[in-house]
Symmetry: D2
Subunit: 338 residues, 4 copies
């Protein structure tokens, strides 16, 4: 087996576990005799030839840290051909055999674009708290974001119960409901509003009202928690709060979790996933693969064409959906019959 | 020593450790032969004669829970004489010797008001995450709220560092800077805006700008975290964010921590404080004291006239202020010279 | 669909998420019109006819609690036919249609034994931190135990790094290495000793010595963490510590995590798993299934013959094993060639 | 004010918050124009002239990390005059004005010993999880160790309740009961065995037996948690467990928390304390003080002669003791009458 020169970068929104992934790439590479360098600030570092050598020592004691030691950034100019050509030039000057890009679908577009102008191997590793990438059951950072959102809902429930109030909790997710669904289920929320299930404001308000009536009857109290995915309610969470107060006559408190969902020490499942993907990416480098994303499906490593990751839409899946129907928004909801 | 009949209620904003305090009152009372009942929903339960008997078994395994098993509420009508008289009647019918009120200064006003119409003993225990009650070094819930805010700042710093962004983090505190100061110091924030130190928007913006310049020079990066107390910036945190973006040319992200600061399992210091105060309140009942709040000063239990708790303003103190000047907003700031 | 009368109990070692599972069973049942009762103290409650009715209200706010509100116990006498007959009698007297048993393989033996004497439906739900049950990818409590063990390793690493010491960390697992492998990988340990890979003391000591030499060379320091599954080292962890001190000349500190691994608020993945399994068990009841365990394989609910769960041995699997070889005990180890 | 050259080291058992203290020293010094260097591995680094320059950038993002970036060690040879002289020589060669020693009483002995052979300023900062240093209300790391021990007791209680078992939890503390007392109180343990209160085995066993009887009667269950300080029970915790099983007829499970108590991200109170002490130590350097430890008493910074810190014994204090009597070992215990 030939020793390889591998470059790695983190790009797009940071996600807990990116450091665990960098570490796995470095440790696996070093054990096999490969060399690793890291570019700083995502694709910007590729354009500026801003890099440093990575070895086991430099990635010691980073597995538990949020953020990314390589920094991250969005890089709009990388869409231009001139940028990709400059990156290719820098990679060639450094005699890099393979570039590993840890990030979300924007970053994978960048990786694909680069591969039009560079002969080396390009491999993506899915890193985003949104879990909205087709081809892998989970993405690095997703598990930690669920945990953070769930912990917040646990805290909110203390006050919701003490005061018998309705709480609205907005979680991230961009345009996918994975984080919202998992946070709502594990946080024992009472209702969830997700992009995959949302139709219109009126229907939703009517449904919440109905659910709340059942809830009051069953539990004898008003403590009711609604989880809402960001970017979904047209006029924003504050407006939804006002509408619900009018509708229900109770007190409604909105909570926007925001950026705390991106940070924190990664939970074990993210560290495991990041490590498995990192190790497998190095194996793919050794097998001269390119133009792929490494992912995990059914607990096994898989490889997906980069373009497939954004051309297909990842579904919530029957198991999750059926469980939500039973536990959250009630059976008779969502036009489903059991 | 006569056996007493003691009633307890939790009132106002819930705070982690209220359950630990209820537990301490019950365990200490039971050990001494007293009887304890709890009113539900704060003063509302007193008006509705909504109560239940409490014993050791009922408070087993609640020390670690946020919220309050007695529920809480605000009760505006309790300001009226007719309400206080009704409460007095219910307390007399239940042959209560002493009423313990766990809450903030609004709740203490209620307790004082009741004492104008009732002969029994009235004792306050300070419970609020804001720590804005004169006469005690700390209030139940304050320590946990610091921890929650600090954890959030730790998480935000992961992204701030990864992206070299400016973050604005809004914490609670009503009109006091304790939570903001402690969260900023323990979270290693770079700047803090507190009611005790705020003069006007213009001066603050100018000062932040200057601090940020020093920071960029010293650290070579833009990651900069500003902690802001709620209710302070006239047009709100979003407007401050926009102003800072204009001023600095960098990306600014606002994060409002909101209600998660009220919940969660109490940290050890809150459980200790709540337990010490609960035990001491029972001692005060045994000593026939009334019209007081029990507090802790310099690690010792103290008793304060209820009216003193709101007539005096609690200061941040020199130690905390000097440390902030050194660690956060820099020496030359705030009109101070060293 | 007929309304059913469902009984549930928790048995064997408690595991975080058992309460989330009870809650899911109750909420799913109530939504479908079924009735649920819970037996206390595992099979002992079945023998003593010690039960109580469960409804949504009684399982509100328990999803986040460790332990089990139904208590658990081991029940040796349940192996006897007379016990199983008595249990059957009690179940018939209560007109129970289906019994759900949440527990490990000892509990499933009990469930199977009962089914020889009772005509009702018997369904197992896998609950154990050891993850040693065939037929399901994960068991309730496993994820939280990994998290607790990993957090402890993170803490130990602080001291290991500060003092450049060797630490031995003993984790649970009975006779399976799942917890050890996952804790070691996510905790960035340097070596792991698991039942699946253990041959003899001498070989292991020699291998550790060799790994430690490579480690010293690569990292330039002595901080080295070894994870060990319980019941594996013949003379116990203390003896291993002494042997390693003699062998390496360094300081070795043993840490036995013990029972803290069984407790704590369940992490989101355990709450999700427990909820999915609980909902699916109710579906199986509705479909008149019996003699099965509900499990999750590849993110989908499955049903397994109860006897299959203990007659087959669950393997660590290639993905996990290969990753350990790369990240922990090094490639040339374990007689493997890459 | 003259600019100073300040050296800092961490010595003895590591404690969470040591990094926060190093950071505070560096930030406060840099703001005032002083220079800071750090010696590695405690006094060993002083003997080996193993040091590096510290500035704001190097201490960025370390406040939340356990352990110590300067490493720690015990250094027996430092007791010899020849060692102290060598250290003095190295300090003079580096033109150091003041040496700050973060550690426990063994480290302070070393600091005092050095001051016999060196003219520079020597200042101690109390860092130990045991809180056994006279002259300061708390020591760096103490609050985090309480939190870790309390969290563990919370977890153990889940199983204790589920199984109705007796648990023995051994915490650190060397020869002081602070950690044991605080962990027991905040963890809602049922009994505590501390050096300050321990007389002999027989009396203790008899008392536990009596307490357990009261407990069974009051709570109707066996779940009972005993906290024990290390180094106290003559034959060790396992023997105590066996004795209790014989005495009570119930199952007893021992748990030794061990080294996890030294690690972990420091809680807010430790970060605050470490920061306040670090800032104040720099002020003491500016005021040319020497031979002192900086501490906190009643929320104010104080200075104590180094020798005073070990010549006096720090007491648990009346408030803590009285609360333990009421909440843990019951009123009629410990020869006290109320």
């Amino acid at each position: 087996m030939t020793n390889k020169r591998i470059a790695v970068l983190t790009s797009g929104g940071d996600a807990p576990g990116m450091n665990a992934c960098i570490r796995a790439v470095v440790v696996a590479s070093e054990g096999a005799g490969h060399t690793v360098i890291g570019f700083e600030h995502g694709f910007n570092g590729l354009l500026a030839a801003n890099w440093r050598k990575l070895d086991s020592k430099k990635v010691h004691n980073i597995i538990q840290r949020g953020g990314t030691i390589l920094r991250s950034a969005r890089c709009k100019e990388f869409k231009q051909d001139v940028s990709a050509k400059l990156a290719a030039k820098h990679l060639d000057e450094l005699a890099i055999d393979a570039l590993l890009v840890i990030g979300g679908d924007g970053s994978f577009h960048g990786a694909k674009h680069l591969s039009n102008f560079w002969d080396g191997q390009v491999i993506g590793l899915p890193g985003t708290i949104d879990n909205d990438i087709y081809g892998t059951d989970a993405t690095i950072g997703y598990y930690t974001a669920i945990e953070t959102a769930m912990d917040s809902i646990d805290k909110v429930r203390d006050t919701a119960d003490a005061f018998e109030r309705i709480f609205l909790v907005e979680v991230m997710g961009r345009h996918a409901g994975f984080l919202g669904a998992s946070a709502a289920l594990s946080g024992a929320a009472n209702y969830v509003i997700l992009p995959e299930l949302f139709t219109d404001k009126e229907t939703t308000l009517k449904d919440i009202h109905q659910q709340l009536s059942i809830h009051r009857q069953r539990y004898g109290h008003e403590s009711f928690i609604i989880v809402l995915t960001e970017n979904l309610w047209p006029e924003g969470i504050a407006e939804l709060g006002v509408q619900l107060e009018e509708l229900t006559g109770g007190e409604v408190r909105p909570v926007i979790l925001g950026h705390i969902q991106r940070g924190g020490s990664p939970v074990s499942q993210d560290r495991m996933l990041a490590t498995l993907l990192g190790v497998n990416a190095v194996r793919c480098v050794e097998q001269n693969k390119t133009g792929i994303m490494v992912g995990m499906q059914n607990n096994k490593p898989v490889e997906i064409e980069l373009s497939q990751t954004w051309e297909n839409r990842k579904e919530l899946g029957d198991t999750l959906t059926q469980t939500m129907v039973t536990m959250l928004n009630e059976r008779h909801n969502w036009g489903m019959t059991t």
